[in-house]
């Protein structure tokens, strides 16, 4: 069955550095993939969507890549700020049927001032 894996360990980085979060998927090939941000006590908020024919997508300080050969998406935050501290969720559509979006477990990012 399809599987989504994100770094379960929290990621701590220094302010100003680039944060890179990884999402790996197995046993299927999603046509696109979404990234969301979740702050404590709140629901996830959509950030970016990248399609399989797009190698890279950017939005301000955010960059997402999608490598269909490696079955991996990378999420980058450049010039990170303490306000970027949150949990980031990878969400490809589920295979088959209604292709409901399925969320990964998320990676918690902590940007240290």
């Amino acid at each position: 069955s399809q599987k989504i894996e994100q770094n379960s360990e929290a990621l701590n980085i220094q302010e100003g550095k680039t944060a890179t979060l990884t999402c790996n998927y197995t046993n299927y090939s999603p046509a696109y993939l979404q990234w969301y941000r979740q702050d404590p006590g709140r629901g996830p908020v959509f950030l970016l969507l990248i399609r399989e024919n797009e190698k890279e997508k950017r939005k301000e300080r955010l960059k997402v890549t999608f490598d269909t050969t490696l079955k991996q998406s990378l999420f980058h935050i450049t010039a990170s700020q303490p306000a970027d501290s949150a949990t980031y969720l990878c969400a490809p559509p589920q295979a088959g049927g209604y292709q409901k979006v399925t969320f990964g477990t998320g990676t918690k990012l902590q940007v240290i001032p």
């Binding site: 046509a31 696109y32 979404q34 709140r42 969507l49 969720l89 969400a91 049927g97 292709q99 409901k100």
Partner: protein
């Protein structure tokens, strides 16, 4: 326009009581989802609706949990005979459709979440 709303925002109940949680999706969104999130844990999918039908109920943890959606809009999640392990934040989300590719519009399944209902079972 209004986002997804949920009520109540907080609910404290005694073990064994029934509770009803309500979700008002974004107007025009045909898909509606329920999730549960325990403290420090990831999202746990419960059920989703496309219109009034629920193609996937696989996440409902037991037969004490049920959900319905009427008029393709408001949804109610009911938990009967609540247990302490039911304590969590219950999140509702809606999207324009499910199946972005099938609907011919990638991204139409982007989910918009409500603020959640924090359920505490004593």
């Amino acid at each position: 326009g209004a986002g997804v709303s949920q009520s109540p925002s907080n609910k404290v109940t005694e073990k064994g009581k029934d509770v009803e949680l309500r979700c008002d999706p974004i107007s025009g969104h045909t898909a509606l989802y329920w999730y549960r999130q325990s403290l420090g844990q990831g999202l746990e999918f419960l059920i989703y609706f496309q219109g009034n039908s629920a193609p996937d109920k696989s996440g409902l943890p037991s037969d004490r949990f049920s959900a319905e959606r009427t008029g393709g809009s408001v949804s109610t999640l009911t938990i009967q005979r609540t247990q302490q392990e039911d304590s969590a934040v219950y999140l509702c989300a809606s999207s324009l459709t499910t199946g972005g590719i099938m609907a011919g519009a990638v991204g139409s399944d982007t989910q918009y979440f409500g603020p959640g209902t924090r359920l505490t079972v004593l």
